[in-house]
Amino acid sequence: MNAVWPIATVVVKELYRRKDFYVLFVLTALITLLMGSVTFFHDDRIARYLKELCLLLIWVSTLVIAITATARQLPAEREQRTILPLLAKPVSRGEVVVGKFLGCWLACGVALVVFYLFFGVVSATREHAWPLTNYFQALWLQWCMLAIVVAMSLAGSLVFAAPSSNATIVFLVASAILLVGRHLNTVALTLPEPAQTLVYALYFALPHLELFDLRDLLVHDWAPIAWWAWAAATLYALAYTWVFLLVAWLSFRRRPLV
């Protein structure tokens, strides 16, 4: 797997030479600062609404960055035929898949660090506190969630013809999981058989991205989560990431490139 790291570094370079990240960061910062400039009842110590808004923007922005950046990786390589000189080197297709994944994931990680620094500064100006453990746990788990999303986009880019359709589908699926994933068991219990079994099976099969969402805990200053739960969630993300990467590799390994 020696080729993985060089491929990943080229992906990171590409993503940071494009403008997407900067646009989304500036947009997030602008909206947050604009909302922060509104004072409610002449009280400038109100922080939670601003934290919630900032985190929501961070979540949306990083999801957009992760999905759009990943969805175009392999299709662009094939469309622009840069995959040909790449695979003419001693590089396996598995290394290309993992390298692309790693590059996109690392780029998302760098973006997350920048976003969370901004969040920390905004939060500290109001609350005068740096709950670093909470920030670390939230950032890490969000990054783990993005690993699943990036792997899902990569697999999707080999299934769906156009990067735009892949990006839209992955974005919708990720949003749907985040919104209703946790409640599918409740929904299943209200259904008759065989729908109940099907929905329950779906509930257990799909990657529960909402597990990685610590926004409410962060906004409302709850204590950090238990470290065993943090570690278990990390393993859960790792497992699903590999599942999607395996799907991507199986789909890519024998596919004609031209």
Binding site: D43, H183, N185, L211, A229
Partner: protein, 300 residues
């Protein structure tokens, strides 16, 4: 073919002329903006009421530090909120119905609306979001619910609850009764028939400004409005009615107007679930109403 710059200048001139011509018409036109005002309200149209309701519930979610049911969770929780009820309990005699409302989400229960975990994934997932019923404990935390209530009032000025709940928190936890009064006056202008806002204003006069006379006038006005709106209703708002009568009795007692206090207590007895207790209060008031036999007052 004219120069593109000339065309640009011409178009800009037309735009500016149109804008200056339309401005007076825009100002003269009331339309659906009357009374509601605000760019946000104009932009969002009628959907702003949905947003206002959503922000109001958001405030309650903040009151519970993020522990809040979604549409999928057990709907045993009434959508009527208890943001303003907890602290009130210490001050006002509460009807049993109101007590019931706060006990449905018992802080003693571990799981609240979530119920016990249905499976291992459900149990595991509860580590990652607020899954315990709590209320804002610290005084300073109370301010956190205010932005959502303020947004709610901006988006739907006819949503009376947003004013009364926000005013309650400003007055009680944050110690800013003047701001609360200012907000309530704003709400009153948008809802001149609201007896709830008058009740809240009366309480500021009674409890913060210590002006029982003005409080009495506001409560009395609120009571008249209540009768005007609720008499004949199949399900009148007895909760507010009880509160109004209770506060009228309190200010009458403060002012020593025992006769009127007896009148209000008599009304209260009719709807109280515990009429015996009210009867005892009536008897006590009547005793104060009848002057005790003593030495006749001498000439000044």
């Amino acid at each position: 073919m004219p120069s593109p710059y000339l065309v640009l200048v011409f178009l800009l001139t037309v735009c500016v002329s149109l804008a200056t011509w339309l401005q007076p018409h825009y100002l003269a036109w009331g339309g659906s903006r009357t009374g509601d005002g605000g760019l946000l309200a104009t932009l969002l149209g009628e959907s702003r009421r949905l947003f206002a309701a959503q922000f109001f519930f958001k405030a309650d979610a903040y009151f519970h530090s993020g522990f809040y049911p979604t549409i999928f969770d057990n709907q045993i929780v009434e959508k009527e909120l208890h943001m303003s009820e907890e602290s009130e309990a210490a001050r006002t005699p509460r009807p049993p119905e109101a007590e019931a409302r706060t006990t449905q989400w018992s802080p003693g229960e571990d799981y609240g609306f979530l119920g016990s975990p249905k499976d291992w994934l459900d149990r595991f997932s509860r580590n990652f979001f607020p899954s315990r019923h709590t209320h804002l404990e610290q005084k300073s935390e109370a301010r956190e619910i205010l932005p959502w209530l303020r947004l709610s009032t901006w988006l739907d000025p006819h949503r009376v609850e947003s004013y009364t709940v926000a005013a309650f928190w400003l007055r009680t936890r944050l110690g800013r009764p003047e701001l609360a009064a200012q907000l309530l006056h704003e709400g009153w202008r948008a809802n001149p028939d609201s007896y709830e806002i008058l009740l809240a204003l009366g309480r500021i006069d009674e409890e913060n400004r210590h002006d029982p006379v003005r409080a009495h006038n506001l409560y009395a006005l609120a009571l008249r409005k209540w009768h005007r709106q609720q008499d004949g209703n199949a399900e009148p708002d007895l909760y507010t009615y009880r509160e109004l009568l209770g506060h009228l009795v309190l200010v009458d007692e403060k002012q020593g107007d025992w006769a009127e206090a007896v009148q209000y207590l008599t009304l209260l007895k009719k709807i109280s679930p515990n009429p015996a207790a009210i009867q005892r209060q009536i008897d006590e008031a009547r005793a104060k109403l009848t002057p005790a036999p003593g030495p006749a007052p001498g000439p000044p």
